[in-house]
């Protein structure tokens, strides 16, 4: 995957400005320091990078295409809109880029027991997939609420040989799955590798996950230069924890003419209090190993996040995004459940692409930005996942009944 470029951040303490760090129980400090050391060594080893490249090319199917969304561009009547099509990766989302990197690192470290948390199930499926390929044991923690709304992915993980453990505590969503994964890690610390799915958690995870996802932006930059002969005016991605956005943004950070736009999930509206927009509606705090923006109450208790998208339903955000936000390098906006649903349907009908509910949040702000930039503008949006997993949720939200029978047919298809 070529040289991994850290762009000078984070510092040696895992800090992006005031954000990041290593806020973990003492039991986990030695293993995260060992992980950091192993990662530093691995990323300087050409054979490790070559191994990742091989899997990226022949297993995941990289590079993913950069696709000119012509009919959506006509619809917006503004800037040209391109999709970076990471939904065409093996397993249907960008998540596998990171899993490939982390599990090859686990193999290098001699760890054979892999644990992961998952929200929408995409990270769980990707982890289970790579674990199967590398012959590793895989346990995925998933909130009981998410298990109900992401049934196809739960079954997929089981087919891949992973054990899916339901988490009932708290809101039974992504943050609770992460708590439970941390509890597993602290208990089985010697033999276990924790494969975190987003650019959050204690250092070195935010930097390491970003590095493995940064392939998205590197490819996109080369592709747009070839197609259009110039840099885009804006790159846009949805944000839960922020891994697909960080992957797209990272290579463009030094190109200050390129606007970096992150779209958070506004749920039923940021003013309603029922949302998952940590930057738009949160404040700095400490959760899951890092200091970042969080949804919290006046006593510093973590508030419940709300989003139709299980993958964005998280009360925090990666620390590098917090820092890009505070320094003004990136812009963070939001989209509601309703907007995401409308634009899911628009994209399906105009482009013949069923986007996942997560990138469906990026679509409305992409159209706004296209109008704002006008005909001379150029935008890349990260189509980070495909929507097959979301059909039950979408049917439910649209008031369509998918009968037991229909669901049964779908299940048999797997």
């Amino acid at each position: 995957m070529g040289k991994i470029d850290n762009r000078a951040w984070p510092d040696e303490n895992g800090r992006f400005g005031d954000f990041g760090g290593r806020y973990v129980a003492e039991t986990l400090m030695p293993p995260i320091l060992a992980l950091e050391k192993a990662y530093e060594e691995a990323k300087a080893d050409p054979s490790f990078l070559r191994e990742i490249d091989e899997f990226f090319a022949h297993y995941i199917g990289r590079p993913s295409p950069l696709y000119f969304a012509e009919r959506l561009t006509e619809h917006a009547n503004g800037a040209k809109i391109y999709f970076k099509r990471d939904e065409l990766n093996h397993t249907g989302a960008h998540k596998i880029n990171n899993c490939m990197g982390q599990l090859l690192l686990a193999k290098r470290m001699g760890k054979k027991r892999i644990i992961a948390e998952t929200g929408a199930g995409q990270h769980g499926v990707a982890t289970a997939t790579v674990a199967a390929r590398l012959g590793m044991e895989c346990i995925v923690y998933m909130g009981a609420t998410d298990i109900v709304r992401q049934k196809p992915n739960v079954f997929r993980m089981r087919l891949l040989g992973a054990e899916v453990r339901a988490v009932h505590s708290g809101t039974a969503t992504l943050k609770d799955a992460m708590n439970e994964a941390l509890r597993d890690w602290v208990t089985n610390v010697a033999e276990t590798f924790y494969c975190i799915g987003t650019v959050a958690g204690p250092h070195p995870y935010p930097a390491m996950v970003r590095d493995f996802q940064a392939i998205i932006g590197r490819e996109a930059k080369a592709q747009i230069l070839e197609r259009e002969g110039r840099l885009p005016d804006a790159v846009i991605a949805c944000i839960g924890g922020g891994s697909n956005a960080m992957g797209l943004f990272h290579d463009f950070i030094p190109d200050t003419s390129v606007r970096l736009i992150g779209v958070e999930a506004a749920g039923r509206g940021v003013d309603s209090g029922l949302h998952a927009a940590s930057l738009t509606g949160g404040s700095p705090g400490v959760l899951h190993g890092n200091r970042t923006y969080l949804l919290q109450d006046e006593h510093g208790q973590i508030s419940d996040a709300h989003s139709i998208s299980a993958g964005l339903d998280y009360p925090g955000i990666g620390p590098e995004h917090a820092w890009l936000h505070d320094t003004g390098r990136a812009e963070y906006v939001s989209a509601t459940d309703t907007e995401a649903l409308e634009h899911f349907q628009l994209c399906a009908k105009l482009e013949g692409i069923l986007p996942a509910l997560e990138p469906s949040h990026a679509l409305p702000r992409t159209l706004d930005t296209a109008k704002e930039l006008g005909k001379d503008g150029l935008i890349i949006m990260n189509m980070c996942g495909r929507g097959d997993k979301d059909v039950f949720t979408i049917a439910d939200a649209l008031g369509e009944e998918i009968s037991e029978g229909t669901e049964g047919v779908n299940r048999k298809a797997y």
């Binding site: 760090g21 505590s169 943050k175 708590n179 208990t187 899951h288 919290q296 208790q301």
Partner: protein
């Protein structure tokens, strides 16, 4: 005050006994019942009280303490109400140290300096912040220095000889040795003695060492008391208080304290 902590370790050592440290969740299930339990602890033999601060995401705790936190929050508990409990306790007890124990975010939200000042004003003696390792606690440590409060650090089975000096540097009162890898309330699987680890931590820190995690019964408390300067029990007390009420919790505490002091 670190003095209250130092005094209790000295006085138990003089008698050849271990200090008994008992944990309870502040505000579980409501302020009145929790305040009553807090007030009854010294007479039942508790030397140091660990008063839990409820948090929504207790990543190092098992289900017993997590659920106690949920009940406490449902009963209106927060960091400031737990400090109020300590202040009320302190009006009638000037000798038993109180260590508040919890997670970083509520304290970060209040502000490290404001928390230290409020804890001092409430008569709190120190704090254990589970997810604030030495790498991240310099700001809170400075505030604690100003107010003569003890920032108690945790040493664990994964803390090796190379790291131990960093873990104990700047700590006061005592060092808490987490005797197993895992979450609170897990069953104890390593029946081996903690003598060697305690000796290593004592040598590195020059402080007394209290041992917790996996201590549920008077028998185990007596075993640990032979090797350590203090014994910590949490989950067993929280569980008994929830399931069988105040009197049963006090009876358990008394038997654990007697074992630790044997």
């Amino acid at each position: 005050m670190t003095k209250r902590i130092d005094q209790i370790f000295e006085s138990r050592r003089a008698k050849g006994q271990a200090v008994f440290v008992a944990y309870m969740m502040g505000g579980d299930p409501d302020r009145a019942a929790s305040q009553k339990l807090l007030g009854a602890m010294p007479e039942a033999g508790v030397d140091i009280i660990e008063l839990g601060i409820p948090f929504t995401d207790p990543m190092a705790d098992g289900p017993v303490i997590e659920e106690a936190g949920i009940r406490a929050r449902a009963g209106g508990a927060s960091l400031s109400s737990v400090l109020d409990m300590a202040a009320e306790f302190r009006r009638s007890n000037q000798t038993t140290p109180i260590i508040v124990m919890g997670y970083c975010n509520p304290i970060h939200h209040m502000g490290y300096g404001a928390f230290a000042a409020a804890a001092k004003a409430a008569g709190v003696d120190g704090a254990i912040i589970v997810d604030l390792p030495p790498e991240e606690d310099s700001e809170l440590r400075a505030a604690f220095e100003t107010h003569d409060l003890a920032l108690i650090r945790l040493a664990t089975p994964t803390t090796d000889a190379e790291r131990l000096p960093k873990v104990v540097a700047g700590t006061k009162g005592f060092v808490y040795y987490v005797s197993m890898t895992g979450i609170t309330g897990a069953s104890f699987t390593q029946a081996s003695s903690v003598k060697d680890q305690v000796a290593a931590i004592r040598a590195a820190s020059g402080l007394p060492v209290a041992v917790g995690f996996g201590v549920k019964t008077p028998q185990r408390a007596a075993e640990v008391a032979k090797d350590a300067d203090g014994v910590v029990v949490g989950t067993a007390i929280v569980k008994t208080f929830h399931e069988h009420g105040h009197d049963a919790a006090i009876a358990l505490i008394r038997s654990l304290a007697n074992a630790a002091h044997s």
